[in-house]
Amino acid sequence: MSGDIKSAGKKPALTVRMKKIQGKHVWPYIFVLPFFVIYLAFNFYPIIYSFVISLTEWSGFGESKFVGFANYVNIFTKDPYFLKSIGNTLIFMAFDIPIVIIGGILLAAILNSSLLKGSSFLRLATFSPYITIPVAIGVLFSLLFDWNSGMINKILVGVGAIDSGINFLGVPALMRVVIILMICWKYLGYHMIFFNAGILGIPTELYEAADVDGASGFTKFTRITIPMLRPIIEFLIIMNIIWGFQLFDEPKVLLSPWTSASGGAGTVGGSKRAALTAIWNLYDTTFGTQMQYGKGAAIAYGLFIFISVFSGVALLIINRNKRKGEI
């Protein structure tokens, strides 16, 4: 009797358990489904389809014509703007990456100093550009550096440094300087925050030991702080390369005809296209002044090749140095 009750009680329990185990197997698939459905539909599929489009000549409407790799040959050999846009982007990166990395480390070190007063206000102030709409950053800088009404020109004329306004946004070299300034202005605080978090993570024993040995502040900075921040420096360099190639919003808006009378405004890429970034070139070719979908898709893939090569080389250098350091 008692045995019957036991087994009768056991049986449903067992099936419930079985069901639960089955459920455990099904649920993770259900949980990951939304991500993969959305990603495959709106990212993966467009990436594959873009490659197909890149092999055609197509205006976005009507029939497309298969042309093989002609678009790629075109952008790498004939088209005057693709390589120029990559070159422009590289120029911006060559200046702004060292500035934001070195500047960020120095500011973070100062910010962490016990000698500094009001550090939380300073942290917020320097970080605020990063959370400002990129479009607004472009507009702000176009206002500041405007040929006629710009604050910078007015101040320079006011103090007698120059006789009449400088056409910052109409001369290729100056335009590039303004863009580099703008990027540094936006990202300096961001980098500072990273390095600040990194410095806070360095064990204080290291500094105490250095104090015992009588190390100076400078020695501690170069021998402890910098080496300990290395993983963050490496991470930020790789990220900067990826972001750098994606630069678009700020230069595009900076050189759009927002203020009425700025020189060189409204042209694609600014005067002589000296500020045409890779993504701007992609945008303009496909959706801006031209309607060349095939060429645009090829530009996207060409850009991706550059991003892969540059971040790959950076990774290789980082890894090689790491191995050297270990030996």
């Binding site: 197997h25 890149s54 100062i110 000698l115 970080f127 605020s128 978090a197 496909t286 959706f287 645009g296």
Partner: protein, 273 residues
């Protein structure tokens, strides 16, 4: 002792000057919005004028609030959807052993290295085909699946949610979704909050895709509204700048107020990993 004090003063002074330089563009923007257009061109508007309310009127006569409404719909919608998608996927990848889990995680890592612009051309073609042009949908649904969001939730859940808690929930007879909602979610609130802020900023600032898919004024988001102020206010520079102030300052204040969570969010991945 004296040199230490001197050093402190010099450092603090240097940092304050730097902070002023950083804040200068914001300051001039706000000052310009308080002047009459003509005076902006003539003088050096470093002090507040008395024309702000007039400028504000001009701005709202052109219905700037529509851009705000659209941006809020986009940012709130995309953020909530993305949080749901990322949490579900991150939870599954960190707390279940299932066939293909390893492959899926590697796939997600790869997606983080691929810029979304790679598929931009076909994405727009796709939007045209399914009739999403001039709607807010392309700005809400596709951004919900970010490799970063999943990676972030997975790492946080793996560290903050003990397996024993989930096991005890199972022993109590809770179903798997119930465990996620009632046991897991309360443990990962900080991660959700940080990710929500990051998502909100990204979606609020989004420019390239809206620039292409939104062509009607009534669908503009704030960034697209800002660059099209020219057509709305013609040569009224002061009105344009006032609109710019409205488009940037409230958000700036909001993010400054929550900057601790925000900063924790963006630095967590790099500093720990």
């Amino acid at each position: 002792m004296k040199t230490k004090k001197m050093k402190s003063i010099v450092l603090t002074l240097f940092m304050f000057v730097l902070a002023l330089v950083v804040l200068f563009p914001f300051y001039t923007m706000i000052m310009m919005s308080t002047h009459y257009s003509e005076n902006i061109y003539k003088g050096l508007p470093l002090l507040p004028g008395g024309y702000f309310m007039e400028n504000l009127k001009t701005v709202f006569n052109a219905h700037f609030e529509i851009f705000y409404k659209n941006s809020l719909i986009v940012s709130v919608g995309a953020t909530i959807l993305s949080l749901a998608v990322s949490t579900l996927c991150g939870y599954a990848l960190s707390k279940y052993k299932f066939k293909g889990a390893n492959f899926l995680f590697k796939f997600i890592l790869v997606t983080m290295m691929v810029p979304t612009q790679l598929g931009l051309v076909a994405f727009v073609v796709e939007m045209k085909k399914i009739g999403w042009m001039n709607t807010l949908l392309p700005l809400i649904i596709p951004p919900a699946a970010t490799g970063f969001g999943v990676y972030w939730m997975r790492n946080y859940i793996a560290g903050a949610l003990p397996d024993e808690l989930i096991e005890s929930g199972r022993i109590d007879g809770a179903r798997e979704p119930g465990i996620l909602v009632k046991i897991a979610l309360p443990c990962i609130k900080p991660a959700i909050f940080s990710l929500a802020l990051m998502n909100f900023v990204t979606n609020w600032n989004s420019f390239l895709v809206p620039l292409i898919v939104l062509n009607k004024t009534e669908t503009y988001t704030v960034p697209i509204g800002i660059i099209n102020l020219n057509s709305a206010y013609r040569n009224d520079l002061a009105a344009k700048i006032t609109a710019l102030v409205l488009g940037t300052v409230p958000l700036l204040i909001l993010f400054t107020a929550t900057s601790k969570s925000f900063i924790r969010g963006i630095t967590m991945g790099a500093v720990k990993g």
